[in-house]
């Protein structure tokens, strides 16, 4: 710093405290927020990793156990079942929950009437508390007098055990989850579709492209970014599925135990083994973190 003249020194002496006080003030505005992040986001991240190498029992101080938690996980058949179930749920949820909202959005974008009605209708389930949705579908799925089997019987189709049979349990969970969540994806796709420049459609029309060709060569290529982002969002969200298996099939049902249910079980039911639960979380975090990182790069890189 060039503090050559007395004048310069004078301004410095006046300015420095002011800068300090301005910074103090700014951090004053942020103090409560920073404390919340530190306590419930940054510190838990570090602590979660540490916990995965510890044994915690609340009686004695936590002890370091090295990789014992991870070894126990690998040896627990339920751990592998939970991963398989989680991937199965995610796969099914993508099959339904990824294709259906886009198709619905493309369809709604063509309808020139009742636009508000369609948007409200498709988003309504998103607003319901998830537990209400799941409990409601629990009544629908009742193998005896449930609405679904009643309808199936009415049209002389074979009925199903829905959540109570190991072959249909997971599909039943995916159906609820798709019904409950497809509204937000649909509306996001719709907004994306509306930002496709009109000239492109005009040009396609002039060149005599059929509706199918316009869909393939204009709509889908121009939705590629939205589609990719939503793919990542949905993978991250569906891999953390909890409330559907928790309420509909229970936390001990091997057909539907997911990773989140397993974490819940390890930490908060019989075991109370926080170390084991933390180790599971760390593994889940590594998998999901990869997806989230790609997602953030994609969305923030475009500002």
């Amino acid at each position: 710093m060039a503090i050559g003249t007395a004048a310069a020194r004078g301004t410095l002496r006046v300015r420095l405290p002011r800068r300090v006080s301005e910074n103090l003030l700014a951090y004053g505005f942020m103090a409560a927020g920073i404390a919340c992040f530190a306590l419930f986001s940054w510190y838990p991240l570090v602590r979660g990793v540490l916990l995965s190498f510890q044994q915690v029992n609340f009686v004695t101080a936590p002890s370091w156990v090295g990789l014992a938690n991870f070894r126990a996980l690998v040896g627990d058949p339920m751990f592998w079942t939970a991963w398989r179930n989680t991937l199965y749920f995610t796969g099914l949820a993508l099959l339904l929950g990824y294709a259906v909202p886009f198709a619905v959005a493309v369809l709604l974008n063509e309808l020139r009437h009742l636009k508000g009605f369609f948007r409200v209708a498709v988003y309504l389930p998103v607003m319901l508390p998830p537990i209400v949705t799941v409990l409601l579908w629990q009544y629908f799925y009742d193998p005896g007098n449930g609405l679904f089997n009643t309808i199936l019987r009415g049209v002389h189709l074979p009925t199903s055990q829905w959540t109570q049979s190991s072959s249909t349990a997971m599909l039943s969970l995916v159906l609820v989850s798709t019904w409950a969540n497809m509204g937000s994806a649909t509306l996001i796709y719709l907004a994306g579709l509306q930002s496709i420049p009109s000239e492109l459609y005009e040009a396609a029309e002039v060149e005599g492209a059929s509706v199918w060709q316009r869909l393939r060569h204009v709509t889908i290529p121009h939705s590629r970014f939205v589609l990719l982002v939503m793919l990542l969002v949905q993978v991250v969200a569906t891999m953390q599925v909890f409330i559907e298996p928790f309420q509909l099939t229970g936390t001990t049902n091997p057909d539907t135990v997911t990773i989140m249910v397993l974490i819940y079980r390890y930490a908060f039911t019989v075991n109370h083994d926080f170390g084991l639960a933390a180790a599971t979380s760390v593994l889940l975090f590594v998998v999901l973190g990869a997806f989230s990182a790609i997602y953030l790069r994609l969305t923030r890189g475009r500002d």
């Binding site: 301005e22 003030l25 700014a26 505005f29 942020m30 409560a32 927020g33 920073i34 919340c36 992040f37 306590l39 419930f40 986001s41 838990p44 709604l108 309808l111 020139r112 009437h113 009742l114 636009k115 508000g116 369609f118 948007r119 209708a121 309504l124 607003m127 319901l128 508390p129 998830p130 537990i131 409990l135 409601l136 629990q138 007098n145 609405l147 009643t150 937000s184 509306l187 996001i188 719709l190 907004a191 994306g192 509306q194 930002s195 459609y201 869909l215 121009h222 939503m230 953390q240 909890f242 989140m260 819940y264 639960a277 979380s281 760390v282 975090f285 999901l288 989230s292 990182a293 969305t299």
Partner: protein, 326 residues
């Protein structure tokens, strides 16, 4: 091409325009499509056969949407009005034969839905205030006061968006049971919901992005007139930021109301429980009649449905603004 690039947060997106357009029904299909062009052009729809097809598709989609999205709600609301015996009939009735509106009163009083409803309302209101106070403070400081290392604070907060809530469940729970440094146990207190909810990087991102658009000249002028930073926030920044404050507020309230797993863990005392957690517990006892359960569920949904119908515009805007940038 991002969605938001075409739709700045303040501009209404199509969902809202659709709402307004519904009232003056388009005379021709071509007029209805004014503005945006889609796959099927107005010219395509002028042909008689395509018009017939269009209206057939419209009718089918309308009926399908009513059945798929509205019927379950109708079934829930009317199921609560039926008698338990009627609910258990092998052939369900579309319209209740006998009306039992007293079921709602029964659920409200005997199932103590009233208590859980008020609990949840209190948590939602408090969560809203705490989130707004803390997140506006952070966003304002980062956007307008620009402190040293502000970029680092923002970066670390945004990095938390990468953390799946699942990964933090166990350590965050342990933090609540014994808050570091102060050694307080927050279990079964509202703070166990409010403080973690305030650590919301997405709110901060939305608010900061909006504050950034407020011209610095405006703030400098106020500073010259002798307004302090707090006064500038209160009298200039906040009044100009109403649209984004509305979005953040709605998502804060809806978030608390819909949350399940976290309140299940940190509010184990049945008297402190939220409506969602209480409904799950009541249903697992297996002793609550179906009609009272349905009444409780419908009561739990009503505030959300009301918020949605009133604030559609902000919700749908916030969704398309945040969906891709969050």
């Amino acid at each position: 091409m991002t969605v938001t690039a075409q739709h700045p947060p303040a501009a209404p997106v199509e969902g809202v325009e659709g709402q307004r357009r519904r009232r003056r029904r388009p005379r021709t299909l071509a007029a209805g499509a004014a503005g945006t062009r889609t796959l099927v052009s107005a010219a395509d729809l002028r042909r008689r056969r395509s018009r017939a097809l269009y209206f057939a598709v419209l009718a089918v989609v309308t009926v399908l949407f009513l059945l798929v999205f509205f019927f379950p709600l109708y079934w829930m609301a009317t199921g609560a009005l039926k008698s338990p015996t009627e609910l258990a009939l092998p052939a369900p009735t579309l319209i209740p034969r006998t009306l039992h509106p007293e079921t709602y009163a029964k659920a409200w009083n005997e199932l103590q839905i009233a208590r859980f409803f008020l609990n949840t309302a209190f948590y939602a209101l408090g969560g809203w205030l705490v989130q707004l106070a803390m997140d506006v403070g952070v966003a304002y400081a980062l956007s307008k006061l620009r402190p040293v290392l502000g970029w680092l604070v923002l970066g670390m907060m945004l990095a938390s968006l990468m953390l799946p809530p699942a990964a933090l469940l166990v350590p965050a729970y342990l933090t609540v049971t014994n808050v570091p440094l102060v050694h307080v146990n927050l279990l079964n207190t509202p703070w166990a919901l409010w403080l973690p909810a305030a650590a919301n990087a997405f709110n901060i991102y939305l608010l900061k992005r909006f504050f950034d658009q407020i011209p610095t000249d405006l703030i400098d002028a106020a500073r010259l007139d002798g307004a302090g930073p707090l006064r500038v926030l209160w009298s200039i920044v906040l009044p100009l930021s109403r649209p984004i404050l509305a979005v953040v507020s709605i998502f804060a309230v809806v978030g608390v109301w819909k949350d399940f797993l976290w309140p299940l863990l940190v509010l184990q005392d049945p008297r402190a429980q939220t409506l969602s957690v209480a409904l799950s517990r009541l249903s697992s006892t297996g002793r609550v009649p179906a009609n009272e359960m349905l009444a409780g569920m419908f009561i739990a949904s009503l505030p959300m449905i009301a918020i949605f119908l009133v604030f559609q515009r902000s919700i749908i805007n916030g969704l398309s603004a945040g969906g891709l940038k969050g």
